[in-house]
């Protein structure tokens, strides 16, 4: 929509001065974020081992991502992890938060802290702990044996079908707390009269949840989904510590491939291409999530 007073300048200092104020911030942003980003894009167009002169290969590194079965599989694993990192925690979080919110339990702060606790621990520590739990002699198998389910006991991280879900479950455990606390905060802001109105109209707890709670926390769900989806797609430490991408290559993920190629194989160009692709995928997915969240919160 064209502004009616395009030529007239707004009151106060001229616009150009404003950019001057932005400059220091922009300089830092450019030096530490834009420059490395562009440099990665440039590197991704080369075949470079990090030591000798790079060779221009154009888009070959990107073509490899599409054609290489192993790399495609890595992106597929990241999508599976998204279910465990984002979808399950949001569902569980919604349930937990609405129960906690409804019940008005005593010591809510205590429960909130307990649920949030995994977030406080560094992911590497979490991974080391879970690696022990999943071990053939780990506590998970001990538990299964104790309740007579010996046949289910196995080396979880060495099982081809179960290694990825096992890694994903750690993500669920890790992210649920964050999601729950976010949603609890959102639910706390809901006006009590809305519930009252719903109850007067004869709504049960389920109806109440669907008609009042869920629409009110859409914004929070969008934020929680964005955070957890990004966490899922860039998972590195968890995979690095628990399985190194194994067994076979059944748990390799893009960010692990970036590290592996850049530092272990000396294929910096290919690593950069994966990194750039991953960035674009993350950007696209979070845009979609925010679009959905935004559209539905504007009432």
């Amino acid at each position: 929509m064209p502004s009616p007073r395009r030529t007239a300048s707004p009151p106060g200092e001229p616009r150009r001065i404003a950019y001057l104020y932005l400059l220091p911030g922009f300089a830092v942003y450019a030096a530490f974020l834009l420059y490395p980003l562009l440099r990665s894009v440039q590197l991704s167009l080369y075949d470079w081992d990090g030591l000798t002169l790079g060779r221009w290969v154009g888009l070959a590194n990107y073509r490899e991502i599409i054609s290489d079965v192993g790399l495609r599989a890595a992106f597929g694993h990241a999508l599976v992890l998204m279910v465990f990192f984002a979808v399950v925690p949001v569902c569980v979080g919604l349930l937990l938060a609405s129960v906690l919110n409804r019940a008005k339990v005593r010591g809510l702060a205590f429960f909130r802290t307990v649920v949030f606790l995994p977030q406080v621990v560094a992911m590497v520590v979490v991974a080391v702990a879970w690696r022990r739990i999943y071990g053939p002699d780990g506590s998970l198998n001990d538990l299964l044996r104790a309740i007579g389910l010996d046949s289910l006991a196995r080396g979880w991280l060495g099982d081809y079908a179960l290694a990825l879900p096992a890694v994903g479950f750690v993500g669920t455990w890790f992210e649920t707390g964050l999601v729950t606390v976010l949603l609890l905060a959102g639910m706390g802001r809901i006006n009590g009269s809305l519930y009252e109105a719903a109850r007067l109209d004869g709504a049960g707890p389920v109806r109440e949840f669907l008609a009042v709670t869920l629409p009110s926390v859409r914004g929070e769900i969008a934020v929680a989904s964005t955070l957890t989806v990004i966490a899922a797609l860039r998972t590195f430490d968890l995979v690095y510590v628990t399985t190194s991408g194994g067994p076979g290559n059944s748990t390799s993920v893009p960010s692990y491939e970036v590290y592996h190629r850049a530092f272990e194989l000396g294929r910096v160009g290919s690593a950069a291409a994966i990194g750039v692709t991953l960035t674009l995928v993350i950007l696209a997915i979070s845009l979609v999530i925010n679009r959905i969240g935004d559209r539905e919160t504007t009432r």
Partner: protein, 452 residues
Amino acid sequence: MTRTTRLGIAAGLGLLGLVSACTPGSNTSAPPPSTVSSVQTDASKLGDVTLVVWDQEVRGGQAEQMKQLNDAFQAKYPNIKLKRVSRSFDDLKTTLKLALTGNEPPDVVEANNGRSDMGAFVKANQLIPLDPYVAAYGWDKRYPASVRQYSSYTPDGKTFGQGNLYGLPQVGEVVGIFYSKKKLAAAGVQPPATWADFEASLAALKAKGEPPLVLGNLEKWPAIHVFGTAQGRTTSPDAIKQLAFGRKGASWKSDENLKAAQTLTDWVGKGYFNEGFNGQDYDPAWQSFAKGKGTYLIAGTWLQADLGKAMGSDVGFMLPPGTSADAKPIATGGTGLPFAITAKSKHPEAAAAYLNFITSPDAMSTLAKTGNLPVADTAAQQTTPGLQQDVFNAFGKIVTDDGLVPYLDYATPTMPDTIGAALQDLLAGKATPEQFADRLEKDYSAFASTNG
């Protein structure tokens, strides 16, 4: 187009220009290889210099020997000042590349032997060939060829195991079989003298109920040592060397290699390994062996100190037995990380003197005293009877008999991955020996054919 977008585009273009100004790697000009006519081997005559040394000797006995040797070096040559930077193996591996491409790299670095490390540095002219110093210091007499091959590359960095010498290792390692004497005795089995004995003992031990072999293969590489041990019985050492150094002329799909893979498949089928080995950590696995689980542990001499401490006189070590009791021993093994001299070092002679000092016969006995396995004069060292003696004798024997074959994952930059994943698949029964061999052959031949 609004002013903002114009500004944004201008800024973007400016940045892009900044970035694209240089091709990656173009600022690392290759210095000409130094030609030394006469080497000054008396370090006290080299004047006042400072050497920056990067090593990864951070654990127990390793750290101890390095400290003792550095102190002795400083005391003997006060004119050379050492600045030591030590990092763990993983940290060193990831930072070394950046350090070497910088303008002031360290003088002496401990670099991993493999293609993606030492090979890449040689190719990029970051390390100097030690050949002039070999003659001056007599290093060729100190180290037999079977040890030197692990630090040798052709100047283009393409051929591993031949060409110039680029580094000197301090310690050696060999993969063999640790065994529990008590467990063998309880089953009424003698320590096997031949490979057939060994396999028979596996069957006998399994018949007693417990899986005899302990393996923790979550990290993927431990199985390489088990496979290498089986392969040493079926395949000729020359063929293994071709494959492991990634040189043309051998094949993974040979009957011998298939037989080795079949051996492992059979062992899994007969239940010789502990359950869930693909999901078991390496460290807890050997720790469980030390606590009395299983009878055999196929692993390297690096576990000697820990296992000796935990098991005392119960544990023994042997080289993988051959087809007959007096057959030439063949075992996977190699050296610790070699010390190399960087091309940009301003004091290569002082650096060479340092290398000579930390690998001298005196240094070797310091290494032995601090619980390490010295790579040279191994059998001549004073040892405590028991495991340490077993290990020293075994390594001394295999070096004298020229029976060391390299780690299979040296072969190509991608081989650690390929073989690690392929072995997990093979052991899990997800791949047949043929599929296993095909997968390795693909990696090996693709590399060997382009590498020339």
